[in-house]
């Protein structure tokens, strides 16, 4: 399995507790290359925490998280994450993408092409020199995706990337996410939106109260959920999607 890829990612009995509450409860799973994975669950089910554990922003209270090729501290990352609320630096859209490349250790002469290509891929070329913080919510989220795109990550984590966006901005974001998938990036996305899970996902990881309750291909999950919790979630959520 040592082909230089950072995948698969293995979680063994991973738990995370904070403030006396167990937010992630003994989750074991393996994330492989290929199909896009949707982490589905109600608010507070532990989706965001699980992604942050995988991405290395949090350390598990117990259990192990192992990548096929472990990251060396200080080396450029082969994974990227897009958050629900994008954090933009106080500089132009162009400079925000260039910043990510600089941190990743890409030499200056190569950055320009990569930045332009990334902005092009999310349709923001015309706003390249606009200050990132004055862009609309949807534009900022696309810029966050461009920032990830420029890094050509092997794995892209997305934490409810469209939760605070309107439907048209949501469609734009979803098409960029599909482009990532088509380009061979492994997409791991948290959402509580069933329609989005269907549109973008190949397989579903269903979380409930910090536990991994069910893992199934999309069609199977929505057609014949195996657990009561998943069935209830699908039923309860349908009117709202």
């Amino acid at each position: 399995m040592n082909n230089g890829s950072i995948l698969p990612l293995r979680l063994a009995e991973v738990s995370f507790a904070a403030g006396g509450r167990t937010l992630i409860d003994r989750i074991s799973l393996e994330i492989e290359t290929g199909p896009s994975t949707i982490i589905l669950g109600a608010n507070g089910a532990g989706k965001s925490v699980l992604m942050r554990l995988m991405h290395g922003l949090l350390s598990p209270s117990s259990g192990r998280i192992e990548w096929n090729a472990p990251e060396r501290p200080g080396a450029p990352r082969k994974q990227a994450m897009v958050f629900q609320r994008p954090v933009m630096l106080r500089r132009s859209a162009y400079a925000n993408v260039a910043y990510a490349l600089k941190i990743a250790g890409i030499p200056e002469p190569q950055r320009g092409t990569l930045v332009r290509e990334a902005l092009e891929s999310v349709g923001l070329s015309h706003l390249a020199h606009r200050s990132a913080r004055v862009l609309s919510g949807g534009e900022q989220q696309r810029l966050a995706l461009a920032r990830a795109w420029a890094l050509h990550p092997e794995v892209l984590f997305l934490d409810e990337p469209t939760a605070s966006l309107d439907p048209s901005a949501t469609r734009e974001i979803e098409s960029v996410i599909k482009a990532f998938d088509a380009a061979g990036t492994k997409v791991v996305m948290a959402t509580h939106n069933l329609g989005q899970a269907r549109r973008l996902g190949d397989e579903i990881l269903f979380l409930d109260q910090g536990q991994l309750v069910e893992r199934a291909p999309v069609a199977q999950f929505f057609g014949k959920p195996q657990s009561v919790q998943a069935a209830a979630f699908i039923k309860g959520e349908l009117p709202w999607t």
Partner: protein
């Protein structure tokens, strides 16, 4: 009061060469002190903001407390350092503008460090996950935040300038208020008041306030314009 206003106006209109000299020395000393303190204080503030070490809270409390350093005490300490028998006596800079710059730098260094620490730490809370996700180390983060909070830091630097321009105790002790050498606006005001020339003292006070307001207004406008542009 109206006599004071007249005196102030007369001083200004006449561009009394002595007055100009005093005002320029005041600005030179305080601006130099601000520059030195910013150069040292901003990196210190940023470093404390993004790092975690044992005793960090104690350091923050002490730093915040030092914002209230009494100028006369700073003046006295610098005086002891620079006096002929003191460890830095051989430099021979007591009763020179350099001594005044040193004293004011010490006085406002904690202000700039403490206020910038607060501003940068607030920003760090917002940026931390994103920067760590990109793989930025503590050093990268500190530099990025210094640049990204530049508009708030301008206010921090102004607070330092205001303190330096307004204090009298430290410059009086280490400068000695020597006519034509180390006499600045605040020490002149103190001297004229004790001599009983209240209109002159008040007039100078008005000029001092006008300068501080002008500097702040300029900085505020710069900040507003920049913030509108960069968000």
């Amino acid at each position: 009061m109206s006599e004071a206003l007249n005196t102030a106006l007369a001083l200004l209109v006449g561009l009394d060469s002595k007055l100009v000299e005093i005002v320029l020395l005041s600005l030179r000393v305080s601006l130099s002190a601000v520059a030195i303190s910013a150069l040292l204080g901003l990196p210190v503030g940023a470093a404390i903001a993004v790092s975690r070490f044992p005793g960090r809270q104690t350091v923050i409390v002490v730093l915040n407390a030092l914002m209230g350093l009494p100028p006369v005490v700073v003046g006295l300490l610098v005086y002891l350092l620079l006096s002929r028998a003191g460890p830095l006596g051989p430099l021979g800079i007591l009763f020179t503008p350099s001594a005044m710059v040193i004293a004011q730098s010490i006085l406002i260094l904690p202000i700039i460090a403490a206020l910038s620490r607060q501003a940068i730490e607030d920003a760090w809370r917002e940026y931390e996950e994103q920067l760590r996700s990109l793989g930025a180390g503590r050093m990268d983060a500190a530099l990025t935040l210094l640049w990204d909070t530049r508009f708030s830091l301008l206010t921090t630097i102004l607070a330092g300038f205001g303190r330096a321009a307004a204090e009298v105790g430290a410059v009086m002790i280490v400068g000695g208020n020597i006519d034509g050498v180390t006499r600045v606006m605040t020490t002149t005001i103190a001297l004229e008041t004790s001599k009983g020339d209240l209109p002159l003292a008040l007039g100078l006070g008005m000029i001092l306030i006008a300068i501080v307001i002008t500097v702040n207004a300029a900085a505020y406008l710069t900040k507003e314009l920049a913030q509108r542009r960069y968000g």
